[in-house]
Point group: C3
Chain length 336, copies 3
């Protein structure tokens, strides 16, 4: 069931500036309207190799609100061990090759959305997003990344929509991306996708985190290239107090250290030095108009205090709601 022009979205840059703009504009037009029939007769396979609340709820709902069918394959059993290497003699545990699973599901589905499992041991290995690449290589329908180790394009899309709605024109506006403490930090995927997304929008970025929490090297190289190309500025290593000053938006996120990736003991000891990295009213006092964003789930009073979260700065629920509309727009873009 391949469309004539096949396009995968493993990362936000798979959408060029025109396509990105169209998707965001369509998201806005879709908001609050229902029962569009754009996906009638279409099936979108959702493969979760890792659990999810917001992504599954918003993606499945997006498909159905467009009249389509979300085939929900919770792919977390043994059954789902897929061989990813080519040319292997498959006498081990995996009963099926990713090539065959992807080819067959492409015959039943009009698009495949994948949330891969993370190895969690070696960043050098996880950063390759081999699982997503296996699906994009073998599927004959569009593959959408629902958050890999390296990228989370769907979150970045919702983030951009939220930023546009609240700031209007983004060029030269400033976003402070601030690391916060959490006992269960995520991969840097959300911040990687966000960083590139805002730089492509011409926004200036202050990136603030403790030493040892630097983002992926290649992602940063690309970020510097984008900053040049789009005339946006990146400001690194700024302390949070300075980063939030005059920021239009503060984006809070907890992510694991790439240095100690795969070493939980070291991660915990490293984190324990930074438990004061938290967004509260005091930190934001210098920036009375700054809005607050966070991709959720959020640990209240650890990452962000209740008073900030429940106060007028918070855009968290708008952001989460925008997952629905931006994913509807992306599906229409890919499948129309």
């Amino acid at each position: 069931m391949a469309d004539t022009e096949l396009q995968h979205v493993s990362r936000l840059r798979d959408l060029d500036d025109d396509a990105l703009n169209q998707v965001l504009e369509l998201s806005g037009r879709l908001k609050g309207r229902h029962s569009r029939g754009d996906l009638v007769g279409r099936t979108v396979g959702l493969l979760f190799f890792r659990g999810s609340l917001r992504t599954r709820a918003s993606f499945e709902t997006a498909v159905h609100q467009l009249g389509g069918h979300a085939l929900n394959l919770t792919a977390m059993s043994d059954f789902w061990e897929l061989e990813e290497n080519e040319g292997v003699v498959m006498d081990g545990r995996a009963p099926e090759h990713i090539k065959d699973a992807a080819t067959v599901l492409s015959r039943y589905c009009h698009a495949l959305a994948i949330r891969p499992a993370l190895g969690g041991s070696h960043w050098d290995s996880d950063r390759n997003d081999r699982h997503i690449k296996g699906w994009t290589r073998h599927a004959s329908v569009p593959v959408i990344n629902m958050e890999s180790a390296l990228w989370h394009p769907l979150q970045a899309l919702a983030d951009l929509l939220t930023l546009r709605e609240h700031l209007g024109r983004l060029k030269k506006k400033r976003v402070a991306i601030v690391w916060v403490h959490s006992p269960t930090p995520a991969s840097p995927a959300v911040v990687h996708s966000l960083l590139h997304a805002v730089l492509r929008s011409g926004m200036n970025v202050s990136l603030s985190h403790p030493s040892g929490y630097e983002l992926d090297d290649e992602v940063m190289d690309e970020a510097h290239a984008l900053s040049k190309e789009y005339g946006s500025e990146i400001d690194l290593g700024t302390p949070p107090e300075k980063a939030v000053r005059d920021a239009h938006v503060v984006y809070a996120r907890s992510w694991q250290s790439i240095e100690s990736y795969g070493n939980p003991t070291l991660q915990a000891s490293q984190r324990s030095k930074h438990t004061n990295w938290r967004i509260d009213e005091k930190l934001l006092a210098s920036s009375p108009d700054a809005r607050l964003m966070h991709a959720m789930p959020v640990r209240r009073n650890v990452e962000i205090t209740d008073s900030v979260l429940d106060g007028p700065r918070s855009l968290l629920y708008e952001q989460a709601a925008n997952r629905l509309w931006s994913q509807m727009a992306l599906l229409i873009h890919l499948l129309r």
Copy 2:
């Protein structure tokens, strides 16, 4: 996606007499008709923190038969540990607050139906239905209780529909609620909701159970108040032989003792004295016209003998089928 008038159904009394009557009449009109489009473009989130067969099958089918989308969130993994206390520093196991989960899901769904987990240790705690209350407090769309420790309004709705269909006018008719033995008794939720439902319908009730199986005190206080308000009679502590005599309907149910709630050893020893509490032809001989109801699943020849279950008295399958029609009517009532 909140409707203008927000109404939750944590218990049957959340529907006043007029609303209850309308829902039951609509249930009857819906029966056997299909493909109504009342829920086209609407998504109903189903959150199962505990497993279910009849409820999930009938509820999901109800949504789809009305043209809507049932977003099925099997919420039984670690991921779903939700913090329910306000103002807490969330540095423990729960990665998300119920406030945030409820608010976000209210942006994707037009209603949320919840089957909460039961603590199972302390009745004083479980009887508070804190989990359901957390969802109703924070959701901005209607929340429907799919069986908590204290109430099962959806079963009571189907029960009332079945009673009306088979007895016509309910006023002054008599139902005998009879405890039966089972190695796996449920919470008293079904009986609590049923008791109030039939009293509100003006039915007289004989409640028959071994000593030690008294219902929740506050539920009984309310029952007595309802009995006064609706002119219906409650007859307590009647032996089963007497309770079923001249009853129009015998409603069998096994429930745990509240006295020994959370103490499996004590529960088992207590139950072992009452293994003869079973519905059979002999017990029902004095009441040749009495029909039999039971909310299922039923342990054959332990709770009720095959000959009664498979004989002409049994309304069990009608009751189960009525879950579908009454839930369709309730969804239309809440979401139209």
Copy 3:
């Protein structure tokens, strides 16, 4: 919700030649067309007591592409232990009788598709397909077997469609069914259904397997009777080199030995002598036009080499795709 003429499909022979022909012709007409509304307002319950990828994905998609609702009951928890014996005192683990589950689900669903669990210990017991028979006995809507120990009618349907598409008229064409080695062989269900299906189509069959891998006795008795009735030939015990010579289609499949069924140690030791039973270019050299079929999942370079699988002989993906179309046709046939 029973239709006037109730028909179950526990095995392919439940469809007579006319019905089979109609279903296959309809499958062809459906191909590539979407959004048929034949199942609007209908719910098909899918009960998986054992996991599945292709069957679940293709069946659920078939239902939805026809406008219906697939109620997906993953039935692998304790909750789903069903009593199958009649007249039992149900004081053991099973909380519900299959009679009651089947009767109630027949009130919610317009058809039930069942993938039963396999005992895996005794062939004499598993071959009775008691679980499927329990559902067909008690359901009042059509029951469809999604692969039991003995039969896999849905795979055979897709296989026949694929054979017709590639060979045209099947009469007197020849299929070689060749056992192949796998560390995780399946039950003989696929081959049982295939064998009968091709014999009924008038095809000649060479069946090639190591000694000890004979098919079920009664299935073979029926096969010989079909061979007489339809004028088709069965050729047994042929070595693979001879079986594939001049075959129009080679059908590869790994199945367990019935002799050592339920004895994993013996099975493994028996298999270890036949690791050279593999489909490769050399084996197929004598049959330059033969096409290759396999029901998947396939262990690459163990059952079949990459070069054959990825070469022009392979019909595997067509076969898998045909699951969708033939199941759509079967659903229309059963539910119209």
